[in-house]
């Protein structure tokens, strides 16, 4: 079993194995996303109260899910790298950080655009949006820490520690913000989600969530592969690989 685990940790093995799976995963992601978008934009019924602006949910919700899930991916990869000193895991953590930050940004921007026709304002300090903003700060902190250390090893360890601290704090922060918002909640509207979803609205959302998960995996693998090439550039296998591809 340990042999399998250590093989799993070999950057070269990951590079070669992921190369085989990547095309299929990408096609799957593309199909899911296309189907989901077309379905959501054109074929799902519009919301009684919000009209067609409700269709933004098909991007906003999946992005939010992945933004949060991505943080856990980053933190767990960091933990594995820290505890078992697995360099590949460090590389995955480093790749996961900007992807998660970007998805959080997408969630915030789509949420803001959705807010304008719904509440009349681009920004509103409700629990969900405020938590998303804090998540963005958590990501930016990890990214900034990565780039502040000169030694790659130290950078990975420091980011891993910070991601773990963040991971432990996320439930606390979310609960606190939630509590804070219910204290001050002005009136009726809870938040940016349709209160009860008709199955015709929910199914395309499911497709989009799956599509986003696949997309996340593709982006993560792509970024990790580049990171591997860069860090292992002095090895024989990378030199051979490069020599085999003129372009």
């Amino acid at each position: 079993m340990w042999q399998w685990f250590h093989r799993l940790g070999s950057p070269r093995w990951f590079y070669q194995a992921s190369g085989k799976w990547l095309p299929w995963l990408s096609i799957l992601a593309a199909i899911l996303l296309c189907v989901g978008v077309v379905w959501g934009l054109g074929f799902a019924p519009q919301d009684a109260k919000q009209g067609n602006s409700f269709r933004i949910i098909y991007i906003h919700v999946p992005a939010s899910f992945l933004a949060l899930a991505g943080y856990y991916v980053m933190a767990i990869a960091g933990a594995v790298g820290l505890i078992w000193k697995m360099k590949l895991s460090d590389m995955v953590m480093k790749s996961a950080a900007p992807i998660g930050a970007v998805l959080t940004f997408v969630a915030l921007v789509t949420g803001a655009i959705w807010g304008k026709p719904t509440w009349g304002t681009y920004w509103i300090w409700d629990a969900r949006i405020t938590s998303m903003l804090v998540l963005l700060f958590l990501y930016l902190g990890v990214i900034a820490l990565q780039y502040s250390y000169t030694s790659q090893d130290a950078a990975s360890k420091a980011s891993a520690v910070l991601s773990l601290v963040g991971m432990v704090n996320i439930p606390i922060i979310y609960k606190s913000v939630d509590w804070w918002y219910t204290l001050h909640q002005p009136a009726t509207i809870k938040f940016t989600e349709a209160p009860s979803m008709h199955p015709d609205m929910f199914r395309p959302l499911l497709v989009m969530i799956l599509g986003f998960y696949c997309f996340y995996a593709v982006a993560l693998i792509l970024n990790t592969r580049v990171e591997i090439l860069h860090r292992e550039r002095r090895t024989r296998w990378v030199q051979d690989l490069v020599a085999g591809k003129p372009s």
Binding site: L140, A144, L145, A154, K157, A158, V165, V177, W180, L183
Partner: protein, 223 residues
Amino acid sequence: MELGFAAILRRDLLLAFRHRGEIANPVLFFFMVVTLIPLGLTPEASRLAEIAPGILWVMALLASLLSVEGMFQGDYRDGTLEQMMILPQPLYVMVLAKILAHWLVTGLPLTLLAPVLGMMLSLPEAGYLPLVLSLLMGTAVLSLVGAIGAALTVALRKGGLLLSLIVMPLYMPALIFGASTVQRAVDGFPVEGPLAILGALLAFSLLVSPFATAGALRVSMHG
């Protein structure tokens, strides 16, 4: 030279006392920004009273944030940190001593001074005791949590801004519950709820933060 919890505590307090001017800094900051608020907003007592709970807590948080940067830097520069880390005593204990010293020198004075500032901002009478209680526990949480950020950035050159970025999200729960303790008291509601949560936050940070800080110190020192 014996170097246990008490010894480190005593040493840090002695050092702080010798640099009395530096202790004044977060306290002075607290005073100054509280003066800026009426200048920027309004001198009207009623309007100030409305925002006083939140303002006082935010300012205390900022003052704490400013001071946390120096927690490990002095010892890092003169090599004492390295010494502390190779001693047989667990790093957890040493870190706890340093954090306690830091709190005694920054958080505690802030807490004791807060009623004066509350008066300057027309804080209604019901708010004073909750203010002190919440700041007492809250500033301790802030010192504990800030230590993690200070440890992660101690070896970096421009660590200050990065420290603020790292620590800010972690500060939010304490701020939320601390400020609402005072606000609820002012509005006439019972404060046991948020105060209890602040207590839980304190217990949790006491347990977890020194570990994370010790780990972060090791990363900073040894890479």
